[in-house]
């Protein structure tokens, strides 16, 4: 049972907000129901993104109109008609400005977009009135957060703090619109290094894990670590500042690393060690190998075999293999023996037998499949275990994510950073497909899964081929919310991502943006000032779009309380390249600390590397209570089998010598 979210500390009663300005409208610059203008004193704390409240002075239907808006543009000018007048006034000497006895009359004029009008009907142009900074309560009403922050039915997920003047107001997303079912998905965009995309997602996951309402079910996250060590130390405490702590406190989130994190990564191509930067022995306790066999891969062969590789004929033969051969007893001429194909190794044996039989018979086709097609399919499928070495095993050992026993408030990190693109695609496709299958059956272990994938412009590009992965991402974005399958995606250039993927993201976050990107049509709805602010955002600042917010809002969020990737690799250096014995020892020690290097050396002496790796993989997958006997048994099962095989009969001469052969010896 998940504990209810901690209460947000109540804000102290705020003094009445001082008036900052007045609404103005002219014939050339009129107010509308969605936009208004106001002026302020020169020293007002108003800026782009500030939320303001307008109090109308004329009742409509017996009620004074109140309008909330967010500042999107600012103007400043003096009573000069032409810049040349100022030049003349100072005799062309800029320093002359400082001696002017009086400063010119100057205006700060702002344009704001309407967030909400009360009453909402009749919707009228914004009336003249006084302008004040929005208070905490005003912000909640302006952003319609009041509808989901009601005690008892609260579904608010803190995303950050809105600051204006000395006022700080927590901003909440609606869990129903972030994790479904009303809307779902989150997309974050911004330039690399400065946009704090990963930090924002880490913070938001912590916030979700804290505030996701128990009545909505359980939630876990799967993060695909596609580059560097960014997500590899989520369970380690990081350095945060006092200002961050204050934000954590205000937002009701514990400033601590994630309590439950599990890491998954394939082996290296050699198969000795796990292929991840989180390979330090101190952190090995929650790192699990990710290995798949033939069954796991064949279902997603389309991911690895593109249309250039596989034509319709080859596709049909692969279907035949999947339906009739793999995982079953199969025997049919010209095969010399029955086959039960469960691994890539056994598949290769099947192909060898089949092709030899066809050649012996001089046949050119088998079951309407031409021998060239069979050879082509054999070539492509056999190649998979090479291309995805470390992930796909020949012997069929499977070590997978705990589908069916996912735990609430747990982060599962799949480290694919060191893998080839094909292997990354395969992992993504299969993991997401399995998530979907289990969520459809309601047996995943949790009711909601957040899937975080970075570099979305690589996996779901706006242009380029229609890949399996892109189709899968489209499927998640369009239908995932009904299942509880939620994507949190990130990329540098939103304009380069498929429109339907980002368009279906109910919530969008924007970090610091590149001006070229902001010049693309997707940002045409933003004012020039808002774009400028986006291009100069500090780390820790975001612009948020959410279905409840009529306009984008700027917020600050605290630095994640987890160790940063680059700090992690310094604190926990990557394990050195190790030999097979050490690799086996380290792996088995996770199950039994008594395992010694000498014991490992004795046990595996005389065995092939592949045998040792298979034995280790089986042991790690099984996680037996008595590790050492189990590990040894893997060899006994294999080695004695060879030792106990009957001695080969003596070679039989091709032809017996006649007893009376005078030339015989």
């Amino acid at each position: 049972m998940t504990a209810p979210p901690p209460p947000i500390p109540p804000a102290p009663p705020a003094p009445p907000a001082p008036l900052l300005g007045r609404v103005v409208a002219t014939e050339r610059k009129p107010n509308t129901p969605h936009e208004f203008h106001f002026w302020t004193s020169l020293d007002s704390p108003i800026g782009i993104g500030t939320i303001v409240r307008v109090d109308g002075e004329t009742p409509v239907a017996g009620q004074l109109v109140r309008v909330y808006g967010v500042v999107v543009e600012g103007f400043s000018y003096t009573d000069l008609q032409s810049p040349i007048h100022d030049v003349l006034g100072h005799d062309g000497t800029p320093g002359g400005a400082s001696v002017a006895a009086t400063q010119r009359a100057e205006i700060r004029l702002y344009t704001a977009h309407v967030l909400r009008q009360i009453p909402e009907e009749p919707l009228q142009p914004v009336p003249m009135g006084s302008v004040a900074l929005a208070s905490d309560e005003d912000v909640a009403v302006a952003l319609r957060m009041d509808s989901y922050l009601q005690p008892g039915s609260r579904t608010g997920i803190p995303v950050g703090i809105y600051r204006a003047g000395a006022m700080e107001a927590p901003i909440y997303l609606d869990a129903d619109f972030l994790l479904g079912p009303e809307a779902a998905h989150l997309n974050i965009t911004g330039v690399s290094g400065l946009a704090t995309k990963t930090s924002a997602v880490e913070w938001l996951l912590a916030s979700i894990f804290t505030h996701f309402p128990p009545q909505k079910g359980s939630v876990a996250a799967i993060c695909f670590n596609v580059k560097g060590p960014d997500l590899l130390f989520l369970d380690q405490p990081g350095q945060i500042e006092d200002s961050d702590l204050a934000m954590y406190e205000k937002l009701g989130v514990k400033a601590a690393p994630f309590e439950r994190v599990r890491y998954f990564a394939p082996y290296t191509a050699k198969g000795f060690a796990i292929n991840t930067l989180r390979s330090n022995e101190q952190l090995a306790h929650n790192v699990t190998p990710l290995t798949w066999g033939l069954n796991e891969v064949m279902q997603f062969a389309e991911v690895l075999l593109n249309k250039d590789d596989i034509d319709a004929k080859a596709d049909a033969f692969i279907d035949f293999l999947q339906e009739r051969v793999i995982g079953r007893e199969f025997h049919e001429a010209p095969l010399s023996t029955p086959h039960r194909v469960r691994s890539f190794g056994e598949l290769e044996t099947f192909f060898r037998d089949l092709l030899r039989g066809l050649e012996d018979r001089g046949g050119e086709s088998w079951r309407t499949h031409h021998i060239a097609t069979i050879r082509k399919v054999r070539n492509r499928l056999s190649n998979i275990s090479t291309r995805c070495a470390g992930l796909v095993t020949d012997e069929g050992t499977v070590s997978d994510l705990p589908f069916g026993s996912f735990q609430d408030r747990t982060v599962y990190v799949v480290d694919v950073a060191s893998l080839e693109e094909d292997a990354q695609d395969l992992i993504f496709a299969r993991v997401v497909s399995k998530l979907r299958e289990h969520l459809e059956r309601r047996d995943l272990g949790v009711s909601h899964v957040v899937v975080f994938v970075d570099e979305l412009n690589k996996y779901a590009p706006a242009d380029g081929p229609d890949t399996y992965v892109r189709k899968m991402l489209l499927d998640i974005s369009e239908r995932g919310r009904y299942l509880g399958l939620v994507s949190f995606s990130a990329q540098q250039f939103r304009s380069q991502v498929h429109r339907r993927v980002v368009g279906n993201s109910g919530t969008a976050l924007y970090g610091r943006m590149d001006m070229d990107e902001l010049a693309t049509p997707g940002y045409a709805v933003l004012s020039v000032a808002t774009k400028t602010k986006l291009a100069t955002l500090e780390k820790g600042q975001l612009m948020v779009r959410h279905p409840h917010f009529a306009q984008p809002i700027f917020v600050r969020f605290p630095r994640p309380a987890v160790m940063r990737g680059r700090d992690g690799v310094e604190r926990f250096p990557q394990a050195e390249d190790i030999g097979l014995e050490v690799a086996v020892m380290r792996a088995l020690r996770q199950l039994d600390p008594a395992v010694s290097l000498d014991w490992v050396k004795r046990t595996i002496a005389g065995h092939e590397e592949s045998e040792v790796i298979r034995a280790r993989n089986v042991t790690m997958q099984t996680r037996p209570e008595r590790v050492q006997p189990f590990f040894e048994a893997q060899f006994r099962r294999v080695v004695p089998a060879e030792a106990s095989s009957p001695p080969r009969p003596a070679p039989v001469p091709i032809r017996s010598l006649p007893s009376d052969d005078p030339y015989g010896f």
Partner: protein
Amino acid sequence: MMAPVSDASLHGVQRRLAALLPAERWLSSPATLELASLGAQDAPRLIAAPVLEGGVLRERRVTGDAPPRFAAFLDGTQTSKVIAHADGVPIVYGTVASVIRQRVDRRMRTWEAARVRHALYAPLALLSQRWRDALSAIDVPVVDTLARRQVESPHPFALQDAAIHAVQEAREAAERELAELWCARGDDQPDGVGELLVDGAITGSERVATASCIVGVVKTHRTLYAEGEALRCVLRLERGVRSSVFRITSPKRTPVASWYLRLRDASARDPLWGLVRIEVAEQPGASAKRIGERADDVSRWVLAEALPLALPDGRWDKMLYGIRDCEEFLRAIQ
């Protein structure tokens, strides 16, 4: 009163009169008489004035700089519009306003409250009883333009001029009211309230014309207080050069000390370009040297107001920015 209430606006007055005089015709968008140059103007003239500083009027260079000294600026505005003709007699709607804009940290803000007044100006003796009844029935002050002035004929333009003069007197009264309040406030405070720069002459009020904290700056020169060589001397003044101090007297006005000062280089421009006349209170019994020193001090203060330029106002060569600020303020609130 800060701003006109709606009923006292031009159209409000027109509506109320129209209700009382439905058969009359009303001018829908009358022109401002002052802008249309239909207003009365004094004829240009030269007047010799007694020189207080030395025997003859001559050029005196103002040397050195001074920090901005004026604490505030006072100006007034007036607008006059004919809203109807009653049997050929113009009924003028006049608005006068005045304000003191105080300078605090180099920014201008309104001191006390601006004065804004609306009234109807008409020669009551020439109006029919019906019109007089209608004018007295609405809640707007009515000023009889012939009460203190005679006209040569009932020519509509002559009557208009009389109305404009009456509006002008109302404007001067509004300015005078604020200036006297400033002086009184200065009397109440040990350190005074600082120097007030008044747009135009200060001779209309004895209280103001004798106050040491008041400086008047006159931009218009329909009357020049110099003749002969003295006139040529005034017209020759270079930038930063003033004339000798002379005395201005008038039967109905308080005598003041005055001098001309060239604010800007008038090369290749008309001789009055950048020329202002400054008025200050006389210093009874003061020596010529003391009078000259006072004129130099005040001239430095005025020259310090040469920036920023009062552009885009067309009179920027003579207008100080503080005065323009007053005008802009009054334009904004009317």
